[in-house]
Symmetry: D2
């Protein structure tokens, strides 16, 4: 059968070439997925001119439609986001709002175009917030049609009120590395099942 593919959307606030902890964790997820035969790529959302909105195309040079095409072509979508104020980045929220448009985009059988896709979550911050970010993303991604594997998240945060970045935390903390492997194994497995056996049509 066809190879599975993954798109990682890096939701850092900083444009390239600034360093990004989310990019590091996102690339580690892609590496782990490649062990399961999944190929993929990563896009840094702020490098594109994505507009605020809740439609598939806000017009006038909006860069979302191109990213959306990549998302629709992939079997697995991973949102990699930093934590700010204990919450997902504004860029990540902007992406979720663009995905909200999928609620009204359905196939001939009445299913969302996202219906066989699997989502993964990757979260990094100096301190505190990974579980809450996961909650926000898991709810939103399930609402817009993605399935979530068991243990759908990998993350790292430091001790309370410290300022260490994941980028500077070398080597990769063992528990985060193990969690990334589990996420990849589960996401690849679930995406394979759903690719072969799609959800039934709505009646």
């Amino acid at each position: 059968m066809a190879e599975l593919t993954c798109l990682v959307l890096n939701c850092t606030l900083k444009k390239s070439p600034a360093e990004s902890s989310s990019e590091l964790l996102g690339s580690q997820v892609l590496d782990a997925l490649s062990d399961h035969g999944v190929t993929g790529s990563m896009e840094r959302v702020v490098d594109h001119d994505v507009r605020f909105g809740v439609s598939t195309d806000e017009g006038d040079g909006d860069a979302w439609p191109a990213l959306r095409t990549k998302m629709l072509d992939a079997d697995i979508l991973v949102l990699a986001t930093p934590i700010w104020l204990g919450q997902p980045s504004a860029v990540c929220k902007m992406v979720l709002e663009r995905l909200d448009a999928e609620l009204s985009e359905t196939d001939d059988e009445g299913r969302m175009l996202t219906h066989g896709k699997v989502a993964g979550i990757a979260v990094v911050g100096n301190e505190d917030g990974a579980h809450h970010v996961t909650a926000e993303l898991a709810q939103a991604l399930s609402d817009v049609g993605f399935s979530l594997p068991a243990n759908a998240v990998t993350y790292w945060v430091g001790e309370a009120m410290q300022g260490v970045d994941y980028l500077d935390r070398s080597p990769t903390p063992e528990k985060t590395a193990a969690t990334t492997k589990t996420l990849a194994a589960h996401a690849a497995h679930l995406a394979g099942l759903l690719a072969r056996s799609p959800y039934p049509a709505s009646s």
Copy 2:
């Protein structure tokens, strides 16, 4: 293959025989699952002497071990909860904390005992809070090993600051009824796939 089964845990604050909107929505989920050959049952958690804690058995007459056996026997777990202060009920949070113990309960292959199970979410309130309750539950259930189908929730809430109960909202609002059907179709499909093709062992 073996019939799929579902356990609904009703997380209302009120002991039987008090009426419960969560029970009504939970029973509608069970009905919808039966259309897909899934058999099931519902337990009202507060009718049992479940203790606060994060172990599988808090001892001294704790009723969680018996409910846990039912949970482990089921392919699908549905948490049905009311909304209080825009948040899941304390009973629901107590259940999530008992499920937290599953993080250290693994099979011979290093997988949580929950690893092939699918979770569904059913939320009712007079007003406001269903998406947030879904977020809290989706994150926690994914953390403790459950997989979430696309559109993993059904819910009803009324207009802001009004006092209508779901129980008294008859006939069932059409959109909630349709959402319940989708949840059931997706949960049954995903549970079937994972029952036949479990997640791989951790390496």
Copy 3:
């Protein structure tokens, strides 16, 4: 003593002159505040070229510094936001991230420049999410130095999965109108107290 002032930041996703339910609720808060002698104004954030970031000035034409000056000049800050996916708008999250910079902006006594200011919250959506939006905003605003009066929020949401806008809900629902009055009375009272008696210096 000097008159108290309020700045409302409208966090709708839509640029002017598009209609905005958040603008309607924000203007109702301003009206209610004027009954307590508070003068104010409202800015629609997306009409300005505010950049993603966590500093006071992201440079290169960033419009935040001008809005920040208005915020620093006001005694009361009201964030008015729509709900998308049960969560605050991405524009609102962008504003919170810009406010995060205040953590390192302190006066001669070691207090944040926001330290005597009071925050209010105004939330509107077709359905569901006002309590959660309030939670996200209350936490973030408290973190960055604002005080929250009792009953710090006014809101309106419709019944689950319906599509009515607050704009089209005329006349204003009585309970929302009463809640707006309470928010205004409490915010004006608390801002007056803190203007006359600032928090003590950090030791």
Copy 4:
């Protein structure tokens, strides 16, 4: 004027005499408040037979009414809670639900009995969740009539997926100690202002 008082409700899941990190942080808040002339006491909620519910008295031996009297007698209420699954403890949620009853308990002037009281938040966990717990509590406490000072929370959490307890983190991390001092200074100041100048009656 009369001395200000504080009640800390420790929302640990474990009955006395089990050690409790929340108790340690709660007692540090009380110490810091005493520097501002605030006297106080702490109650471990699970040592009392508090019932699930949303009324002021669930009857039949319910221990909430006695705790409620202490709460009504205090100027400052601090909720000290552990983090489980990134969320407030079930005991803490149970307390919030009992406080929900205050929405319908008003004085002769139409104000909630909680209306001049100030709330503080103290959160501890092995890892991750303090900001989210703060959000849940800040929203709920504001809804039921408490005012929140600037920087209304003190907390400690460890690095991601580690197992260190706050109890075993000695000496107290400097940043948490400083944050506790700020919370105490702000809560005492705000409680003093509101004790002398209550919110106006509802019209």
